[in-house]
Subunit: 248 residues, 2 copies
């Protein structure tokens, strides 16, 4: 069963109108805490949004994508050095975690914890979807959830009972991502070959046509993840890291 | 079985002198690729180190901690926007991923993939351990593995057949990390209460004594993760991000 699960899992963006019992959610969040964590510091927190009015406001910050607006619960997992620093100060120790390296440690911890939640939740029959939009409106989400210093939202997961079972989308062949001993430099031709199954995937061909583009890559660079947006989000995220004390 | 696994898993730092079959490793890396990934871009790569001489050199960059120097294999998982950008250029599209937001997207993707590897590998009976030191010597590791622009190492996982089954260490109670609707501000007293099981954990009390400190927190702030080191690593990591093209 495990082996089948890992081979077949998919993210689910449509959910039944049915509540996840609080006890099940607690059970998932608690088991996930056994995930690896840097120096056993557990540099993460999770804010649970399930109140309908708050869900509506949070979904808006995620651009009302269906996975957000139709979720029973949204979890916002945060890189958190606040709790640990408070403990240090209460223990006659001087914390030194208002820096970029500490942010990266906490971010890594938070994402490991997030993925453990996803795996356990899916094995319990729930549907999950990461909302990549968490970085785009990190400041607004931060305000909505009343996050203090040294706490930054880094992953959002929508949860619900699946209303459909989507077909898996394509992945690159293993050779594309795997390097033996040193990083292999592929030629343009080799790269195109590695991406061939992606370029040829029927849904992807449809995106290209619908958007009047010449290649799938242009759908990414011109529409989905354009440089102008990436630059703007970079600036706003760096500004948030400064305000939260993680960057000078 | 799954439920038991998640409740009981521990990181393993001591390994048998026994090789992991290449087919098993490939199988793990391939199944893990079904993990969620931002926009299905798969913004990660994995460099496999198993050649004994290279393992020795890589372990040195991880300060020769036993989990590194005794590993059968070390996986270095990288945030990678190089492959995707090359594909864009080969497809008549202009990539715009040389910025901080793109780094955070790729880092998140790479850590999700890493944690999926850990879960699958452990379910296959392997022992794993994240080497948090990957950030400390990221530049040296980057040179050793010959990483190109827009590729930065963000997670290292040592793998081997377990030579021992360590007892699980303590975790905070769920209340410590869980917040309903908004982030709860705990008082100093509440914080100390949430950390009580950690402060009282026998191994932790021993660390405090052995190091002649007044509190466990001081072991972290004065010895394990002191501000001076965090500041130095922050600077070197930021400098690497600039050199690799992820920061202006």
């Amino acid at each position: 069963m495990d082996k089948e699960y890992f081979r077949n899992r998919v993210s689910v963006r449509n959910y039944e109108k049915r509540h996840i019992p609080e006890s099940l959610l607690d059970n998932i969040l608690e088991r996930a805490m056994r995930a690896p964590t840097c120096g056993n510091m557990q540099l993460y927190s999770v804010v649970i949004t399930r109140d309908p009015e708050r869900l509506r406001r949070l979904a808006k910050e995620h651009f009302n994508q269906p996975a957000a607006s139709g979720a029973d619960v949204i979890l916002t997992i945060c890189a958190d050095f606040n709790r640990f620093s408070e403990w240090c100060e209460a223990s006659d120790a001087k914390p030194g975690y208002n820096n970029f390296h500490s942010f990266i440690m906490a971010l890594t911890d938070a994402v490991i914890y997030s993925q453990q939640i996803v795996t356990i939740a899916e094995m319990e029959g729930l549907g999950t979807c990461y909302l990549g939009t968490v970085n785009y409106n990190a400041r607004q989400i931060s305000e909505l959830l009343e996050l203090p210093d040294l706490v930054v939202p880094v992953a959002s997961i929508s949860l619900g009972y699946p209303a459909s079972s989507p077909a898996p989308c394509e992945r690159l062949p293993l050779e594309a991502i795997k390097h033996n001993e040193t990083y292999r430099k592929d030629s343009r031709e080799q790269i195109l070959n590695l991406f061939k199954s992606k370029d040829d995937f029927p849904d992807n061909r449809k995106f290209v046509e619908e958007n009047g583009k010449k290649s799938l890559a242009q759908v990414f660079t011109d529409i989905r993840y354009p440089e102008s947006v990436n630059t703007t989000v970079s600036e706003s995220f760096i500004s948030l890291l400064k305000d939260k004390g993680f960057l000078k």
